[in-house]
């Protein structure tokens, strides 16, 4: 169909929204409430355009043959300016002392639309106290512009239902049930709300300054571990697509002052060693199937909160972050001369839920700081590090070497693929001809396949986003779906789309990050976790063998049934 956009004619093959059509021809219209994975709601009204002379929201209006669209007529611009002025009047402006101002969409649009001076009374927001109750993020309704994106992401994409709209009109606010503190709700701390909040009403808890204090303390040894997904996205924070390699990232971390830089991918390799063998065991005993992965703390909490009957199905393996921390505290720290209390471990994660995971009571003392990709980028910027001038460095030994299987832990399907590589080869003693499991790669929300291991057909499935996980669990519960092994990651695309990742994170950036991790895998000499020389060494020197008594003590964990509301206010 032919559509005129700003007096130029364009041809489109299929029906789509005006917003998408404009984006396709290189015109990004401003919007605060739109999320590409969700149904358009048309509530922020910022994306208005004139279509055939009528003011319409471009996200909810489909193009029609012969339509004439003006994206920047005077009327449109005036509407958007008025909209922004109204929002700013209802927003606590602290832009200079606001952590998110450089990522703030309201700030960006106000700048672009030449807003200076608000002709309206500022709305008093004094009644709102920030909710600081959880480790992962802070909710500050003083800065909320009520776009509802957090609620939609939480309820539609994730189906977690931790926050909802409450009240109406001028009193509308995003609220937890009974206005409980967020840590007393079924929130999984996945951080998708943080990632999608256009302002700073939701932001991660910053631990970087405390971390810096520890680094500057000469008595203290500070080590860090870097998750796979961080290296897949950190360059975006510096406006680049490539050029910031893992080696340069390690150099930057050393420059900041970390005494040791380890690779969470090694933790991932450890996880695979344990998880693959656990899977084989469960299959042998035909017990506790399907087995669910347990690397994603948001997913683990989701099961603990909502699906108590599936808790035994969760793999007992700790996540890579926690496995590496355990091995660091026992195997590595023992070799250091410092007192245990002077040894600190930070982890750099694409994830806000990891902050909370590190504070689960089972794990207390293992990890001292968890910072996100965004926090790391701020530290690097604070140091003024110029990546171009840096040399490449290696991760520290012996927790620095990793396999390609560990790298793909960051993408949806990666854990499953890595586990299958090791499970198959361990069980059959045969080499896989092709280590890539194409059927579970890519951004489809539900992927599945099967593999024959010694005559037993093992059926596996991969889902990402908790919304899809909920659907799959309900199907399994009803007996409509049958799998032996299921991988779940809470965020779109897996950890690469995590709540701590650079803003914006959209499907385009997720695909790019995915590709970067697959490339790292491809270039690795060791593609399978059990081929990683450090892994062989750690098991040889310390852990004996997968699922050994020692491995169980250090690398496995327990889960708990959680419930809210019922035991409180009626």
């Amino acid at each position: 169909m032919k559509v005129r956009i700003n007096e130029k004619e364009y041809e489109f093959q299929e029906s789509k929204s005006i917003l998408d059509a404009c984006s396709e021809i290189g015109l990004n219209l401003p919007t605060l409430c739109h999320h590409e994975l969700l149904e358009p709601r048309g509530v922020c009204r910022l994306c208005v355009v004139e279509a055939d002379g009528k003011l319409v929201t471009s996200c909810t209006t489909k193009i029609r043959d012969g339509m004439s669209i003006e994206t920047h007529s005077n009327k449109v611009i005036e509407s958007r300016r008025m909209n922004l002025m109204l929002l700013i009047a209802d927003h606590q402006e602290e832009c200079l002392s606001c952590n998110k101002s450089t990522d703030c969409l309201l700030f960006k649009y106000a700048n672009e639309y030449d807003i200076h001076g608000i002709p309206f009374e500022k709305i008093d927001k004094e009644e709102f106290e920030p909710d600081e109750s959880c480790y992962s993020f802070r909710r500050d309704l003083k800065k909320c512009i009520k776009c509802g994106k957090c609620v939609e992401v939480c309820n539609v994409l994730q189906k977690v239902y931790a926050i909802e709209y409450s009240k109406r009109g001028k009193d509308l606010k995003m609220s937890t049930a009974f206005e409980y503190p967020i840590n007393e709700t079924e929130c999984t701390f996945c951080g998708q709300c943080v990632l999608n909040c256009p302002t700073c009403a939701l932001e991660e808890k910053y631990e970087a300054s405390d971390l810096m204090w520890a680094i500057n303390d000469k008595e203290t040894v500070v080590a860090c571990q870097v998750a796979p997904s961080v290296r897949a996205s950190i360059m975006e924070e510096f406006g680049k697509n490539e050029g910031i390699t893992v080696g340069k990232l390690v150099s930057a971390l050393k420059m900041i002052g970390f005494d040791y830089v380890f690779d969470t991918q090694l933790g991932a390799d450890l996880t695979i060693m344990e998880e693959a063998n656990e899977l084989l065991e469960r299959i042998k005993e035909n017990k506790g199937l399907p087995m669910f992965t347990s690397c994603c703390p948001a997913w683990v909490k989701f099961v603990e909160d909502n699906f108590h009957d599936f808790i035994p199905n969760l793999s007992s393996c700790k996540s890579p972050q926690q496995m590496l921390a355990s091995v660091f505290r026992t195997y590595f720290a023992g070799k250091l001369e410092s007192k245990p209390e002077n040894i600190k471990l930070a982890s750099i994660m694409p994830c806000t839920a990891k902050k909370t995971e590190a504070r689960r009571y089972e794990f207390i003392g293992d990890i001292d700081f968890v910072i996100t990709t965004r926090e790391l980028s701020r530290m690097i910027k604070e140091f003024g590090i110029n990546f171009e001038a840096l040399d490449e460095s290696e991760f520290d030994c012996p927790l620095g070497e990793s396999s390609g299987a560990g790298a793909i832990f960051g993408v949806s399907g990666g854990v499953c693929e890595a586990a299958l590589r090791t499970a198959y080869e361990t069980a059959t003693s045969k080499k896989l001809e092709k280590v890539e499991f194409e059927q579970i790669r890519g951004v489809d929300f539900f992927k599945h396949g099967e593999i024959n291991i010694n005559g037993r057909v093992v059926r596996f499935a991969v889902v990402h986003t908790l919304g899809k996980a909920r659907e799959l669990l309900e199907q399994i519960r009803k007996g409509e779906a049958h799998y032996d092994f299921v991988e779940v990651m809470a965020c779109p695309g897996g950890c690469i789309g995590g709540g701590g990742q650079p803003i914006p994170t959209d499907m385009k950036t997720i695909r790019e990050r995915m590709q970067r991790l697959y490339t790292i895998d491809q270039l690795k000499k060791a593609r399978r976790s059990h081929e990683n020389p450090d892994i062989i060494r750690i098991y040889g020197e310390f852990l004996e063998q997968p699922l050994s008594k020692k491995a169980h003590a250090l690398l496995h964990t327990k889960y708990m049934k959680r419930s809210y509301y019922s035991d409180k206010k009626g």
Partner: protein, 584 residues
Amino acid sequence: MKHIIRVCTCTGCQANGSLEVFEGLCRAVSGRKKECEGKGIEIEVKETGCTGLSETVPNVLVEPSGILYVNVNEDKAERIVDSVINNYVIDEMLFELDGKKYGKLTDVPFFALQERVLLARCGYTTPLSLSDYIESGGFEGLKAAVSMKQDEIIDILKRAKLRGRGGAGFLTGIKWRFLKNAKGNEKFLICNADEGDPGAFMDRSLLESDPFAVLEGMLIGAYATGATRSFIYIREEYPLAIDKVKTAIDILKENGYLGNNVLEKFSFDIEIRKGAGAFVCGEETALMNSVEGKRGQPRIKPPFPAERGIFGKPTNINNVKTYAFVPLILRNGPEWFLDKGNGKSSGGTLLICLTGKIRLNGVVEVKMGTALRKVIYDIGGGLKSGKRLKGVQTGGPSGGCIPEALIDTEIDYESMQELGSIIGSGGIICIDEDDSIIDLCIFFLDFLEKESCGQCTPCREGIIQMKDLIIKIKERKASEQDIAMLEKLAVYVRDNSLCGLGQTSPNVVLSSLKYFRDEFERRISGKPVFKINEKCTGCHLCFLKCPVKAINGSPKEIHEIIQEKCIGCGICYDVCKFQAIDKE
């Protein structure tokens, strides 16, 4: 001879003690049973629906004489019964207006000048009596309908030009055709009884007074569109209406008019859903969300309800009055209905709620196209205060203000829209010269800022700021730019809001700025404020000189400046010989 004494027991009348009157009458009748028998008189006291004359309730109607007694209380019950038995009229209890007394209800101008079609049963039948309903023509429309094809019914409605009476005024026939033609195995009808406008109570009155008529309209709708299930969405604040409709549904079920195999032609079920009192749930898509158990906020259209409505199924939503019209149209034909209009886009009569400073407030029914003046002065009896009418606010929070100068306008969809207002659900609030337009705007904006669902920016934030700007103007802190900004903001909210609530919310501001702009402008900051101090001798000079009659006071008493009216010209200040006027 048989006499019937009718007492309305609708919510409004009950609140004024009509139940006590009813019981008093019953007691009085049974107390004089023997006497009646002796005289061959039979008296029955019956509950009825509301006549609509809310000003003088409780009202009592005696039949067959047709005598109307007003402002009745329990103590007067005996006398009424006595008057029936002994065949006389109690003069002092008759309706009186401008010194003239009216005996018969039909002689009272309030009733005589109405065109009561929808309200024909109200006051004359017992709301939950199926026999009363059938005797007065009930189910004739339904019976006529089931003898026709679906398309014929829809065609009749189209020819009758029945426009939806909920506010938007969409043609009912077209809407029904959408639903009839919609694909889907299950279709829904919804009756919107979430009457939320301040000062509107005609839907409640109709549901309480003639519930079967509304249900019959829905039954015809079901047959014509193929809908099998339906909901009546009534606000929780209408417990009596809910009770009556519930009982009416049960009665219809018992008598085979609802459920499987209605008149051996179709199956249909009606359920009641209670609204929790959110104004926005009167918006059809928000209403559907609410019925589904979701948060009551409007959905984006398209898809329209006929395509994807409640539970994702094709749905048709009409207002209470719209459904109640349908049986009448099928009974009397489209020409009859058209004849009740003024030849423009809509046929039929119009239900109006007269409130505010009007002398006779209540529910009235007039032909579409009746002049506002006739409704206010001839039917409503003019203003209570005897003061000059300043204007009328029509259509509730979505409507606008019309000045006295335009009072000869005929009430129909087009004319109201031309004036920047709407018919809406039919509320008319009269204001007199003492009322401040600015306060009226603040009242409605205050209502709307609380009742907006809050999802879209223009409505949620825009209404707050419009209200704030007007308060600023009221407090004389605003500049000319603020008035310009108010107007700009109002236009923005109108053009940018997601649903009808937001789009119409600035009507009250825009129409006020159009017709009463001077009231805003005279409050611009910088203009001096004058106040009279205790030195005033009551010489009355300022009173005489004030060009806008903004000074109150009798000679030899301290005078007072009505700030609402003052234009800050300073003439009073100049003429005062006693330094009794302060300039701030």
